[in-house]
């Protein structure tokens, strides 16, 4: 039965080719624009660290130690803490895992001094690799003993290892970081969060995550004269912003990330955090009521507008446009079907049930939808290519991925059936006798 309907549909499509092309093209444009916007949206809306970031939370509090007349209301949550506070939170071990980190940009060199590499990395207090789930290729992460003794140890990625030593397995080699020589204890695969999650308050405009080429214990790095890229928020007497400075004792520059499994753990940690912050306020260190809050990664990214509004607006626009195309095609199909009431009447008179007629027309629109989907494929590719060429911060996300095919296929069939329901129902509704009379 199905292939009979299919042959009927093909036959009818051939009868009026321009009309069919118009229908297919309209659907294809609608589907392609929606697919383009959706691909970008999907690329930017998943977990920044799959399997890990859903359990990660960042601690925020108003940790300012002096009155700030420019921002007395603490306009938005602030994740930057002094090293001392970050250490206290990490050392409390109240979460499953916890680490304080800061972004650094510096030069890593090999001991001969003949090769060096500009590298982004994280200065960390605590088990950074474990907390963020960074996969180790060789070696091991640093131990608590190494951290507390400020041992000069570093974990680098294979990219830096290749560049400095010409091999992936650089464990045991020495790397010059600032004024000191650091021993490589581990090598990781190239690692970057899919989207920007660190230091969002001072990192406006970045969408895709930064490759982190090295991980180093914070204190050892400071001892070697390598500080965070920006020194965050410093006290009133210190400069407004300064770069790559290792004298950051007066500054709030570290972010504390904790890994928590269950809702109960989150609640418990929230209480612990509020308790810690309030104690600092009561002791007179924090100038304002701290309003300590724990943010999940996703909520934190939303709050800081990591994904530009344009991405959402374009998706809404594309969705609206697809809807318009659907109504349009439904109307044209209704006109097309109703013009053929005569054929339907004869089929009905010969014994076809309403259901048969309905199915026959649905097969036809489903076929058109599929054709629209096939045409939408190159159009989507074109759309993504155009976006990729644009000077927008999310251009990198505009890439054709295999699962786009699946979504596209499902979407086009759904579209074909959806636009067919109303016309098909309309055409099978009328009684055969009346239709024959008209015909």
């Amino acid at each position: 039965m199905f292939d009979y309907y299919l042959r009927l549909a093909l036959c009818r499509c051939r009868q009026n080719v321009p009309m069919m092309l118009l229908l297919v093209l309209t659907m294809a444009i609608g589907i392609a624009s929606c697919m383009t916007a959706m691909t970008i949206f999907r690329a930017l809306s998943g977990a920044p660290l799959p399997g890990v970031s859903p359990y990660l939370h960042v601690a925020t509090m108003d940790a300012r130690e002096a009155v700030d007349k420019d921002n007395p209301d603490y306009k938005r949550p602030d994740s930057l803490l002094k090293l001392a506070d970050a250490k206290a939170l990490v050392d409390a071990h109240r979460a499953v895992q916890q680490v304080a980190v800061a972004q650094s940009l510096t030069r890593l060199g090999n001991p001969d001094g003949d090769t060096s590499s500009q590298a982004y990395g994280l200065m960390a207090y605590g088990p950074a690799l474990q907390t963020f789930g960074v996969p180790l290729r060789y070696g091991r992460p640093w131990t608590e003993a190494e951290q507390s003794s400020n041992a000069p140890v570093v974990v680098i990625d294979t990219h830096v290892a290749q560049k400095l030593f010409g091999t992936d397995d650089a464990v045991g080699r020495s790397v010059t970081l600032g004024q000191r020589s650091f021993r490589v204890i581990g090598v990781i695969a190239p690692w970057a969060p899919r989207m920007q999650i660190f230091n969002l308050g001072q990192n406006a405009g970045g969408v895709t995550g930064q490759d982190e080429n090295f991980f180093v214990p914070a204190q050892a790095s400071l001892d070697a004269g390598v500080g965070p890229f920006t020194s965050g928020e410093c006290g009133k007497d210190a400069p407004v912003v300064s770069f790559q400075s290792a004298t950051v004792a007066q500054c709030r520059w570290m972010e504390t990330w904790v890994r928590l499994g269950t809702r109960a753990q989150v609640d418990a940690y929230d209480r612990f955090l509020a308790g810690y912050a309030n104690a600092q306020h009561d002791a007179g260190r924090f100038a304002y009521p701290p309003q300590a809050t724990l943010y999940g990664t996703q909520a934190w990214m939303t709050l800081n507008h990591v994904v530009p509004d344009d991405v959402h607006l374009n998706l809404i626009l594309a969705g609206g446009f697809l809807l318009l195309c659907l109504v349009n095609v439904a109307g044209l199909l209704a006109a097309r079907f109703l013009r053929r009431q005569g054929d339907v009447a004869i089929r009905r008179a010969l014994g076809a049930s309403k259901r048969d007629v309905f199915m026959q027309h649905l097969v036809e629109t489903g076929l058109l939808g599929l054709a629209g989907g096939v045409l939408a494929l190159p159009l989507t590719w074109l759309g993504l290519w155009i976006v990729h060429m644009q000077p927008v911060s999310y251009a990198d996300a505009a890439r054709f991925s295999p699962d786009t095919f699946v979504v596209l296929f499902a979407l086009s069939v759904a579209v074909g059936l959806l636009v067919g329901i109303l016309p098909a129902w309309r055409v099978c509704r009328q009684p055969p006798a009346l239709q024959i009379k008209i015909a």
């Binding site: 940009l105 510096t106 407004v240 400075s245 626009l317 318009l324 195309c325 109703l338």
Partner: protein, 412 residues
């Protein structure tokens, strides 16, 4: 009128589909055109800068550790000034079209009910000459004013200011702004700036959601900001031919004087102001193309849709039209009737569309940083859709009017 409305009510599906289509298209087009207009503002507004191809800008010149001392910046600037072919140099905290460093704030006149405005503040020396701004009232800063030594960035300090004409009109609607005082912020100890000059235009370096006027709200303060980690150097060349030579000398001088203490891994950027502007506006330009493309396709799709549906609707009634013609209706009557019918159907779609355009805008405003849809867009959108409807119905209506009366006698 009744003979037009009645059939519409009897056969509801076709008109309803047209209404729905028009409503959707209207809602999308209104919002898309509004977004388009906003993205267009920085592209079409004058930025006030003269000879953009002769102005060289150097930025991303950040020191490792402490910010550069102003004396050192001044020293570099005077070396740049000595380069042959250079007519003017400036050291500033932020620069038009350079969005890495921005200073924006709420400024207001003196007094209880003073007008306020959200303005960009540019602090730097010799900016009027270097930017090539056109003074329309008052004077440029004096040498003594340019020599001011700030303790901080200078935004809280009092002193003279040059403002744009748009800002002057906003803050001092009474007329002459010269000699009046602008307060920089709400605090009691906020800086108080006396207006000494008014320039024709100067665009702010924060884009997005601006209408024509407030993208031109800018102020200039004299002197070199101190304690500012990201200074901008700007150099104006005498002629376009000398730009390349000057650029090489500027690069060399900055590298020699400041290079050893610069941050590692981020290199200084040098560009002519014209190129800088192109890059800064590239994103807006891309959005303009996207939105105009979408708007156009929406209109075309709607046009085709209305045409197809009306064509069928007319064909369905060929016999009735024939009867009417046989009974004495003239071609013109039939044409007018079909057009009027379309006007009714599209009109109700437009009403629905305008309501949903407004609702969509309200929803977007709640969730995104978006301005309110100006009411002017509603009649504009309505007119556009009605026009589109008439355009779409023209061919089916003409076809209807050509139905010969003899059709009435056939196959009844």
């Amino acid at each position: 009128m009744r003979h037009i409305v009645k059939p519409l009510l009897r056969h509801r599906m076709m008109p309803l589909l047209v209404v729905l289509q028009v409503a959707l298209a209207c809602a999308i087009a209104c919002n898309a055109l509004f977004l388009l207009q906003q993205k267009l503002v920085p592209i079409v507004s004058p930025d006030g800068v003269g000879h953009p191809d002769r102005l060289l800008v150097a930025w991303n010149i950040a020191p490792r550790g402490q910010p550069w001392p102003t004396s050192r910046l001044g020293q570099v600037a005077s070396e740049l000034r000595a380069i042959p072919g250079v007519t003017s140099t400036s050291v500033a905290g932020s620069w038009p079209m350079e969005t890495v460093a921005q200073m924006n704030g709420s400024v207001m006149g003196e007094g209880e009910h003073a007008a306020r405005a959200d303005a960009a503040v540019y602090i730097g020396n010799h900016m009027v000459d270097t930017l090539g701004l056109k003074l329309v009232a008052g004077r440029d800063f004096s040498a003594a004013e340019e020599g001011v030594a700030y303790t901080g960035i200078g935004i809280d300090a009092s002193g003279p200011a040059i403002i744009t004409r748009a800002l002057a009109n906003r803050l001092f609607p009474g007329g002459d702004a010269l000699g009046h005082v602008v307060r920089i912020g709400d605090q009691a100890d906020a800086g108080r700036r006396t207006v000494v000059g008014v320039v024709e235009h100067l665009m702010r370096n924060k884009f997005g959601q601006d209408d024509r006027e407030n993208i031109d709200y800018s102020m200039l303060f004299p002197g070199i900001p101190s304690n500012w980690p990201m200074p901008v150097f700007a150099v104006r060349a005498r002629s376009a031919a000398e730009v390349d030579g000057v650029l090489g000398a500027v690069k060399a001088a900055i590298k020699r004087d400041l290079g050893p203490d610069m941050i590692q891994g981020i290199d200084p950027a040098y560009e002519t102001y014209g190129r800088l502007r192109d890059r800064a506006l590239a994103q807006s330009r891309a959005a303009v193309w996207l939105l105009s493309g979408v708007s156009l396709v929406v209109l075309v799709v709607t046009l085709v849709g209305i045409m197809g549906l009306t064509g069928y609707w007319v064909q369905q009634r060929t016999r009735q039209i024939g009867v009417r013609r046989a009974l004495g209706a003239r071609r013109r009557n039939i044409l007018r009737e079909v057009q009027l019918e379309n006007l009714l159907v599209v009109g109700s779609g437009v009403l629905l569309g305008l309501a949903s355009a407004y609702a969509v805008n309200l929803w977007l405003m709640r969730h995104y940083e978006l301005a309110r849809l100006p009411w002017q867009y509603l009649p504009l959108g309505a007119a556009l859709m009605l026009l589109l409807g008439q355009l779409a119905v023209l061919s089916p209506a003409l076809r209807a009017s050509r139905v010969p009366p003899v059709v009435a006698t056939r196959s009844v």
